[in-house]
Subunit: 238 residues, 2 copies
């Protein structure tokens, strides 16, 4: 029996032109696409980006990802997703799990991989890196993330972020959960920030002076903040 190959493919943050040649090659040859599915989106954003490059007859399986922080429920979902993938691989099929941005950074791919690692030969696993949302965001506004010997801190906006808000180069991910609070804290620390939502999508939005009170009351969940002392000043100079 020959195991199929398993790929974790980063499809970038939104613009299909930000797929790599490698990702396109993998999508073209894969037998089955494994699509992460949460209640947040009716159709997976990753699939929207990838589907133009897949064979018309490509198999599809959806890996259900419950929106919960209950460890047991999550473990069970990943375990069950990994088992479905393992069976396809054991059958000799090539499977590509697609993920927004880069598969190694805040992706459910790493949990799936963890569950798969003992069950399939590791040499059959290949991770294909993708453009990170934060790289696309910085490029979109022509701003450096970090220069010279400066550190760069990437931080999801969970509990306990206060300690880090003084970091010179800071990217805050997943800000939709707590934007008003985060903006207030940044203001306390005299930090300027630019808010980018859905970079590279048709509905992209860039705000140089993000306000906690949204005109439409909504913050897209694909939003991040690039925080830099100089951002606000540079903007004022223009």
């Amino acid at each position: 029996m020959t195991w199929g190959r398993f790929y974790g493919v980063g499809v970038g943050p939104g613009d299909p032109q930000l797929l790599t040649l490698k990702a396109v090659e993998v999508l073209r040859k894969t037998d089955v696409i494994a699509i992460p599915k949460s209640k947040l989106e009716r159709e997976s954003v990753a699939w929207e980006i990838a589907k133009g490059h897949c064979r018309p007859d490509v198999g599809q399986i959806e890996i259900e990802l419950p929106m919960t922080s209950e460890r047991e429920v999550l473990e069970q979902a990943w375990e069950s997703g990994a088992e479905r993938i393992r069976r396809l691989l054991a059958d000799g099929q090539t499977v590509a799990f697609i993920t927004l941005g880069d598969p190694s950074l805040y992706s459910t791919y790493t949990y799936l991989l963890d569950k798969l690692k003992g069950k399939i030969p590791e040499e059959r696993i290949e991770t294909v890196p993708g453009i990170m949302a934060l790289a696309a965001a910085a490029a979109r506004v022509n701003l450096p993330l970090a220069e010279g010997d400066e550190p760069l801190l990437i931080l999801p906006s969970g509990e306990g972020i206060e300690d880090y808000l003084g970091f010179p180069n800071l990217v805050l991910m997943k800000v939709s959960r707590r934007l008003p609070e985060i903006l207030a804290r940044l203001k306390d620390k005299d930090r300027a920030a630019v808010l980018l939502s859905r970079v590279g999508h048709d509905t992209e939005r860039i705000e140089w002076n993000p306000e906690a009170q949204r005109p439409d009351g909504k913050i897209d969940y694909l939003s991040l903040l690039i925080v830099k002392g100089a951002v606000g000043r540079a903007e004022e100079e223009n």
Copy 2:
């Protein structure tokens, strides 16, 4: 007079397959490639990656980047490079400055951009993000950079890094400068690390237990360390 377009193009860390479709499109249509050139490499690594995608008759200019920390010398080099590019753009030509990895992260591109910003219309500037070496490195060893609500710290290996070595998810860039010292400090803190050199190049090297004393006495300057408490343990389990 119509200004030409200026692109800052990330060509990824080494594997030409890690170029994005967007980068390929820009390279194909550009009139002139601006190639960063330092004394470290006889021929630019970025050009090695990009050249297969450029027109055979593409113009080439080399932007000399002196290996110095003297601010005045550097400023002058960037200013002179920016001026050469400005003249081409004023002449209506499309110019693409290519850079290893991603243009927003530790790239000389951001200094050039800084010099160009006042001199050409900002809407003629486009930054094309690239795969970061750290994303390719994590993918190569199937390791997460960060999961869930964990922060990720990216740190060049300059002075004063000691304060940060306890960070749970840490990537140390430019480690060739001080590898023995860094490895000793990490050992003090009981941290495990994997060393990756020239990811995606023919001469790629991965070391799960990097030793300060190199058998060949050399450390490639395109090297980074992924530092994680669990790396060493996971490796021992296999």
